[in-house]
């Protein structure tokens, strides 16, 4: 009889421990899904874009743009991406005031600019830049794609 009691009790404790472990796993699962260590990488890509524009290195600036943005720029301005990006009117950035990263998308807000980025197999690329807010609508951007 005492053995049956012991077995029942330890079995119940094991179940409780298993449940606690499962709950912890679910919470960790969801937290890992919404956190990322990509803030720095996204910010770095946005910083490099502004640095390239300051040094008038259109080629380097284009390399930081997503394919869709490069195509849109060339088509809309009827010139090469290198020329079009320099003429697009992306404002000088100022300092970074906010970085938001969710999964494969990011926003880097500057004093004078807002840059949107996406994560691609070869790193973070700018998907829109020179953006200004429109209440209740998507940001209006000097360069954007898609």
């Amino acid at each position: 009889m005492s053995q049956a009691v012991q077995t029942g009790c330890s079995g119940y404790s094991r179940s409780v421990r298993s449940l606690a472990a499962a709950i912890a796993l679910v919470v960790l699962f969801s937290l890992s899904a919404c956190s990322s260590g990509n803030d720095d990488a996204a910010t770095q890509a946005a910083e490099q874009l502004h640095a390239s524009l300051r040094t008038e290195d259109g080629s380097a600036a284009c390399a930081l743009l997503s394919d869709a943005v490069q195509e849109e720029l060339s088509e809309s301005q009827g010139s090469s991406c290198e020329s079009a990006v320099m003429a697009a009117g992306i404002p000088d950035s100022g300092r970074v005031v906010e970085v938001k990263v969710y999964g494969t998308s990011a926003l880097v807000r500057y004093d004078e600019d807002v840059v949107f980025l996406g994560e691609f197999p070869d790193g973070w690329k700018v998907t829109a830049a020179g953006c200004s807010p429109h209440a209740g609508a998507p940001y209006d951007c000097q360069v954007q794609g898609g």
Binding site: Y12, V27, A33
Partner: protein, 223 residues
Amino acid sequence: MRTFIRNNSLSVFFLVIFLAALVGQAFAGWAQFNDQQVASGMGEIGLGRYLTSADYAVDVTENWQSEYLQFLLYILATVFFIQKGSPESPTHAGLGDDKEQKLGRHTVDDSPAWAKAGGVRTSIFSWSLTIVMASIFFVSWLAQSIAGWAAFNETRLEDRLDPISWGAYLTNPDFWARTLQNWQSEFLAVGSMAVLAIYLRQRGSAESKPVGEPHESTGVSAG
């Protein structure tokens, strides 16, 4: 080992098909996610990255919470409500007395230790199934809200919109559409089973009355 599997074949069966479905969902969800990424001019991701993504997490947890809510409500509703003729229904509503519940002086030699212990431990054990199912439901729902918030903001950034706070997401239609579309289907399924089992049978199933049992019999299962 063979004896263990035979004695636990119901649990093992569901564990195996659960894992198979979870893996299938991972591959299908990954392909769908990358299709959407390409369509919106964004980059594709690898399977490993998708498995830790908010997109996969919200799709998994939104179903988990609704399933556990379904069974939680079924466990509780069958304490307080009756469906005459249903094998899942008690014959009379309520928590039952000590004799029915094999408590107090009615415990038997191999009753669980916490059933014999009395006091707080027996009170907790008497509600342990509800406590555990409710805990899993609330944790899954919390996880859905966090992962859903992250996935929702990922899409907003793709659309060049500002992200919203977790608190704002809790009142957002996306959260409630995901939640309620699951709840309605679970409530329909469990409610219809309670009613259909009055008139229909599955020979050998513990969820059904014996085939020859009268339609009017309540709380009788073939198991």
